[in-house]
């Protein structure tokens, strides 16, 4: 069997400028932040980013790596407006494809199913159609004759997701209340990279009463859809990764209120993820 474990640096080495990159999670929840930080340490830029946007979008936008963003929103959840996304939009820093949350989901489904589009009753009547003049509608061939948006497939070159557990083959497990759309991101991408809190030899150590001692529904991502696995404890920081940890609200507030250059210098200028995690730890020590 193929051992797919790699480092964040290995993942980024497989990405290149100009790629279309999907990022899992939702808002400020279970984002693959360690992989995003690795991306920030690399020269990779000119990206098309597909995301239910949170600080992943904010970090990449602030660092000037985004050419085009496909998203229904960008938010920090407990802080409604993502400051760096806002600044980038108000500065005209990237092209935006603004679609509805459901349109986005059906775009992922279309890509995962290798379909060019899927019909969705959302978008028509709204300015989503005005700001996306390339969007087309499709008319039902049945008696109803209704017209829907033909949401194009959100196919991506690579996807980045973060889960609670994974094995070395690329099977991934979520232990929180919501899978978000991480399985679809992996299936919608030509290659997918899964970071996790902990690599396990076998699932079931975290409790569960299903076959083999594991809750089968928690095994979200299948290895057939995963190219690389990265063990990154605290790798979703500062977004939430329950039940391993909640959102680091104090640090998120710091992120949202500190000028970008100052924040990047203190937390993102180190050589690796470890230096980020220790800079965060030092900051927390100072707050006590």
């Amino acid at each position: 069997m193929t051992d797919k474990t790699m480092t964040p640096e290995d993942v980024v080495a497989r990405l290149s400028s100009g790629m279309t990159l999907g990022i899992g999670g939702w808002g400020s929840r279970r984002k693959p932040m360690a992989l995003v930080r690795a991306l920030l340490r690399s020269p990779v830029t000119d990206l098309t980013v597909i995301s239910y946007g949170g600080p992943d979008v904010g970090l990449l936008a602030a660092a000037g790596r985004v050419r085009k963003l496909v998203a229904p929103f960008a938010t920090l959840d407990s802080i409604p407006l993502e400051p760096h996304f806002r600044a980038a939009r108000q500065g005209g820093a990237f092209e935006l494809v603004e679609v509805d949350e459901a349109m986005f989901m059906w775009g992922l489904h279309a890509a995962a199913n290798r379909l060019p589009f899927l019909p969705v009753r959302a978008g028509i009547g709204s300015d989503v159609m005005r700001v996306n003049p390339d969007l087309r509608t499709v008319t039902s061939p049945y008696e109803d004759g209704e017209t829907f948006v033909a949401m194009p497939a959100l196919r991506m070159d690579a996807a980045l997701v973060h889960l609670n557990r994974a094995d070395r083959l690329g099977n991934g497990q979520y232990l929180g209340p919501d899978p978000y759309f991480d399985d679809l991101f992996c299936e919608a991408a030509d290659s997918a990279y899964l970071s996790c809190e902990r690599i396990v030899d076998a699932f079931g150590d975290d409790g569960g009463s299903g076959p083999g001692g594991v809750v089968p529904q928690s095994l979200l991502v299948g290895r057939y859809a995963v190219t690389g696995v990265v063990e990154c404890p605290n790798g979703a920081h500062f977004t939430s990764c329950v039940p391993d940890y909640g959102r680091d609200e104090a640090f998120q507030k710091l992120y949202a209120t500190t000028p970008w250059a100052e924040f990047a210098e203190r937390f993102l200028s180190g050589p690796d993820e470890k230096s980020y995690q220790s800079a965060v730890q030092s900051w927390h020590e100072e707050q006590k």
Partner: protein, 248 residues
Amino acid sequence: MTTSAVRVTRAEYCVIACAEAWRDNGEVLASPMGLIPSVGARLARHTFSPDLLLTDGEAMLVGPDGRPEGWLPYRRHLAMVTGGRRHVMMGASQIDRFGNQNISCIGAWERPARQLLGVRGAPVNTLNNPVSYWVPKHSTRVFVPKVDMISGVGYDSAAAAGPSATRYHRIPRVVSNLGVFDFATPDHSMRLASLHPGVTLDEVGEATAFALAVADEPAYTREPTPEELRLIREVIDPDGLREREVRP
């Protein structure tokens, strides 16, 4: 009981007006966004709409005691939206005379003066299940002649988009700190349905940048019952957080 002991605050009238949005809705998901709508939805669940479903704000459906009764992660929530068994009360940075709503950005979309959230689920919500709105500070900046980016679809926009847009489209009410509004007019333009006690017609007119239709007999938002006041003050919002969202 003395009069002073039952004096109802503006925030409490707002709670009642929000709760009323979910009356007679049956077994649907009440999706309140914002504190006052949340208190309202829970009040409706506790009293006249006991079959309502509520979430914990994350992925669980919960009973009145907060214990889980079902699972509703985002992917299933979006199916619930399109299945129609839901009544959401969203916020609105801008709303116009025909109920078009904006939460995306202010100014030209191409280069916004103020980027807000993005359209989020407003397009799918408005085309698939009843959508009401909550505005804590009624002003001409919010109640505008024309919104900058149609996120939530209004009656005129739905009609222009055709039958698949109008099929399940409905905006039952808009609740603000000043009153309750609906679209029960021949052309589905916004109408003042009731003023909260203490608010004048002039006050609402000055805070609205378009002409409002007025119900034949301008009514006042109803009084809460003593039991409703007890539930609001002692059970649902004992810390009085509602008073921070609406200035008296």
